[in-house]
């Protein structure tokens, strides 16, 4: 029983830690740094660290006082305690995160009740549709990304004289895949395009042959996979194996990270994907990132870097470390510098629900070791090439 | 004349291709004490297990108090009034002896009454002192008698005792024999006793059944059995050790 007394005592001590140091302003970052999404969490944090560094070098403002408190949240179940800890023990004035939508949803339940602002780049529509005031979403919603994945592809194809009458949707069955697939499905219905194959599959699938067999039998005009890396590689390879030349238009995640190239080599050439942002808007920042981490800057690094800079600027505007005032400043601010200039729309601003008013999904295409923004035309760096994988 | 307490007819048990019991038939009357003997591997323990429902016979019938028991689960058989002890003792480890006995009593009565039953059963076997012992700390003879106490707690009409005297001294053995006879007299419990110790069996039993290779080869009074050539043959042939 003595052990218990000691343990209980330390629980007390945890709660009684000093609130916050005077001079620094702490911003919390909750990301999956271990577990299955660790890669994405770590690159997001890399992006934020770079964004903070550059801001500290370039400006003389409040950025010098900002400290990033990073915490590992591998699963949504860990999010509430971590969020509460950051708010109450570390005294963060705002939060950034998290890669996965379910972690963001769980964390934002805490930030809402604690009245601390949080900026996220997760896709789920729900995030800003709960009527919450303290959560902001800098990327387009999953349904919009799904719709763009379909509509942009159809526009590009039809501009090349290719008729699209039937498609296949293959999606991993976690939150991200299901939400985005729903967007594609709805957009297809609206456009009067037949969805010939509509298959969810378990994340971690080890053989996608059954999926590709059904694609081969249905002969759709375009395949829309919404997948992470493992499944992306399997889908592209198995299609090649079976000699299927149906164009593949990826759904972000696995299709626009450096590891996609590592797994497929030359076969990535001209693969399309929808994307929330791309590094080719900000080559100079990307060069910094590449120097530090050896790969191009994935979109989550760019987005979260921008989110952090938006929050720091809002703190400066609010001229306060009161989370409620910071929240109002985030909501009012239109931020167009630094990392934000690398986002589609080249600015960050939010409507009253916290959803983005500036962001929109873009299309990228693999060219050599790089991915290049090709659509919509006003954002494109290069022309799209509608080529079937021969 | 009413039916005997237990009436076993043509019971055959197979394990794989092996016949463990072959058309075994016998009866046990109310309050009777019967010895069951036979060389090692003759099927005595199998016979007990089958009677209480742990094995299902291939064919035959086991009627207890006029009810067919074949196909009944062991707990139903126990509640009907027939239970057995385990040869290598199967008291519940991680419990005290008292709790073992109490648990058995709980099968058919509520806690308060069960406590009384448990205390009484331990007293019947002169084991009050051992009640607080954990099974792990009991000697083998204590465990064997503990088995009897636990079986008693189910309020049986017929108790099948499987070598409970194996490790006892002659004096202790006499005491157990006296206890069995006293229980028979006071509670009207019938017993079937498997024991290797011939003197004990002779002293205890009114009738003796002899099993060999799964077949009942003889039955009769102790005197008849000890002079039965088939029995002697079975024991000598199997190289008996007692």
């Amino acid at each position: 029983m003595t052990t218990k007394a000691i343990l209980l005592g330390s629980a007390l001590a945890l709660g009684a830690l000093p609130a916050m140091a005077q001079d620094t302003i702490k911003i919390g970052a909750i990301f999956p740094l271990s577990g299955p999404n660790a890669q994405f969490g770590n690159s997001s944090v890399n992006g934020m660290r770079l964004a903070l560094e550059r801001m500290q070098e370039e400006t003389d403002g409040i950025a010098d006082r900002v400290e990033l408190v990073v915490t590992d949240v591998p699963a949504p179940g860990d999010a509430p305690a971590a969020t509460q800890r950051l708010i109450n023990n570390d005294g963060v004035v705002g939060l950034i995160g998290s890669f996965s939508s379910s972690i963001t949803l769980a964390a934002s339940e805490i930030t809402e009740r604690a009245q601390v602002p949080m900026i996220s780049h997760s896709f789920a529509d729900q995030i800003t549709e709960r009527g919450y005031e303290y959560i902001f979403q800098i990327s387009s919603k999953g349904s919009a990304i799904g719709a763009a994945q379909l509509n942009h592809a159809v526009e590009i194809a039809e501009a090349e004289g290719v008729d699209v009458s039937s498609i296949a949707i293959l999606y991993e069955d976690t939150s991200y895949g299901t939400a985005q697939a729903a967007g594609i499905r709805d957009a297809a219905a609206e456009a009067g395009i037949e969805v010939a194959v509509d298959q969810g599959y378990p994340l971690g699938i080890s053989d996608v042959s059954p999926l590709i067999n059904s694609v081969r039998r249905a002969e759709p005009d375009i395949v829309f996979p919404v997948s992470y890396l493992n499944d992306s590689l399997l889908i592209v390879r198995t299609m090649r194996q079976q000699g299927l030349s149906t164009p593949v238009v990826g759904g972000a995640a696995g299709y626009i990270i450096p590891a996609f190239k590592d797994g497929l080599g030359e076969f990535t050439e001209n693969v399309f994907s929808v994307a929330p942002a791309n590094y080719d808007y900000v080559p100079e920042i990307n060069a910094d990132y590449e120097e530090a981490h050896g790969t191009f800057m994935p979109h989550e690094a760019l987005m979260y870097g921008a989110a952090l800079q938006h929050m720091i600027t809002a703190i400066e505007e609010a001229d306060s470390t009161d989370p409620v005032e910071i929240r109002d400043a985030i909501s009012a601010l239109e931020y167009c510098d630094g990392f934000a200039s690398g986002l589609p729309g080249e600015c960050i601003a939010f409507d009253e629900t916290g959803a983005t008013t500036t962001g929109f999904p873009i299309f990228v295409q693999w060219r050599g070791d790089d991915i290049v923004t090709v659509y919509p035309p006003e954002s494109a760096r290069e022309e799209p090439i509608w080529a079937t994988a021969d | 004349m009413s039916e005997p307490l237990l009436s076993v007819s043509d019971v055959t048990v197979r394990f794989g291709g092996l016949k463990a019991l072959n058309e075994v038939a016998f009866t046990v009357g109310e309050g009777e004490v019967i010895g069951l003997i036979g060389p090692n591997g003759a099927g005595k323990t199998t016979c007990f297990s089958t009677l209480v429902g742990l094995n299902r016979p291939k064919s035959g019938s086991i009627r207890f108090q006029g009810q067919e028991m074949v196909g009944s689960k062991p707990h139903r058989v126990a509640r009907a009034g027939m239970t057995k002890t385990f040869q290598n003792t199967a008291l519940f480890p991680g419990m005290t002896l008292y709790d073992n006995v109490l648990t058995a009593a709980l099968g058919h009565e509520p806690l308060a009454q069960a406590r009384e039953t448990a205390t009484r059963c331990l007293r019947d076997l002169h084991m009050e002192e051992a009640g607080d012992l954990a099974v792990e700390d009991m000697t083998f003879p204590q465990r064997a008698l503990g088995e009897v106490a636990r079986a008693l707690a189910t309020s049986p009409k017929l108790l099948l005792l499987d070598e409970v005297m194996a490790a006892l001294t002659p004096a202790e053995m006499d005491e157990v024999i006296a206890t069995i006879l006293r229980l028979r007299d006071s509670h009207g419990i019938a017993f079937v006793v498997v024991e290797h110790h011939m003197k004990a069996i002779m002293k205890l039993s009114e009738r003796i059944l002899v099993l060999n290779f799964g077949e009942l080869i003889a039955s009769g009074t102790p005197d008849e059995i000890s002079s039965n050539p088939a029995v002697i043959e079975a024991y000598l042939g199997a190289g008996h050790d007692d």
């Binding site: 660790a38 969810g200 080890s206 053989d207 042959s209 067999n213 493992n230 590689l233 399997l234 194996q241 | -």
Partner: protein
């Protein structure tokens, strides 16, 4: 008809891989009586070994798998002698939770050492398939299948044709008796655990030929591995291989009638049904 045959072909090929990955789990259970929740971490380890072999030595993952086999054996042997041996006589719960602890240590150890990056290989076989009339046979899965069969035959020969194999089987059946015959059973436990780890690590090398390595890849396989060994009969070596084929076929063929999303649902229902009706496994003792 064609879709069904194709599904069975696909399932068979990937099922061979499941079999090899799971056979180590079954061996460890058969000999040591321990359900090793950390077994899939040896798959992850094998994938990393094979990846480094591919990346720095240019070895095909199938050859890298041989290196993985050796590394898996060494690590497995050490883990058994240092840690698992200490709970050999403990309760099942202690054993299970020792391996759960090992799982966390190995998975996160890999994250700390190798980082979170996905590491995949590129081989020619990944993009090729052979055509047999209307059927496709994927080269990479075919190679994986052949490697799986080869290692299975080698394992079978080891267990049945060598003194060591007999000692392992004797220990599995009755350790005290084996000891009486002069077998050092502690040493055999170490060897058997090492061998189990080695086989799963070898399977990892094969898996790398079609899937990227990352620290938590084991989690994708752990439940699948249990399903395989239970269907084949926990502890049965050849049963695990056949169980693997069966799981592959069920996963693949079930997609003809069920959404692919539910392929594992079908699998787990069969899994529970088999446990309930035939706990010795579909293939039972005959396969041992």
């Amino acid at each position: 008809m064609t879709p069904l045959v194709q599904a069975i072909l696909d399932g068979l090929l990937v099922g061979g891989v499941y079999g090899v990955v799971a056979v180590g789990l079954s061996l460890v259970f058969g000999v040591l009586g321990i359900v090793n929740f950390a077994q899939a971490e040896f798959l992850m380890l094998g994938m990393y070994v094979a990846w480094f072999a591919w990346s720095f030595l240019g070895l095909d993952p199938m050859l890298g798998a041989v290196l993985a086999l050796a590394a898996g054996f060494m690590l497995g042997y050490v883990i058994q002698r240092l840690l698992v041996q200490r709970v050999m006589s403990s309760d099942h719960v202690a054993q299970i939770f020792l391996t759960v602890g090992l799982l966390a240590v190995m998975e996160n150890g890999a994250l700390m050492i190798f980082g979170p990056d996905f590491r995949s290989v590129q081989t020619d076989a990944q993009m090729i398939s052979y055509r047999l009339g209307p059927f496709f046979i994927s080269a990479v899965y075919l190679k994986a299948f052949v490697a799986a069969v080869a290692i299975s035959v080698a394992l079978w020969a080891l267990l049945n044709r060598t003194w060591l194999g007999r000692a392992i089987r004797a220990t599995a059946q009755d350790a005290p008796a084996a000891q009486l015959f002069g077998i050092n059973t502690r040493w055999i436990y170490g060897i058997a655990f090492g061998l189990g780890a080695a086989l799963t690590a070898f399977g990892g090398g094969i898996v790398l030929s079609f899937a990227p390595a990352y620290p938590t890849i084991g989690a994708n396989y752990v439940v699948l591995m249990f399903t395989v060994v239970v269907l084949g009969g926990l502890g049965s070596v050849m049963g695990a291989l056949l169980g693997g084929l069966l799981v592959g076929i069920v996963q693949s063929a079930s997609t003809l009638v069920l959404p692919i999303q539910l392929q594992n649902l079908a699998l787990f229902v069969i899994f529970i049904a088999v446990l309930a009706l035939r706990p010795e496994g579909l293939l039972g003792k005959a396969a041992k």
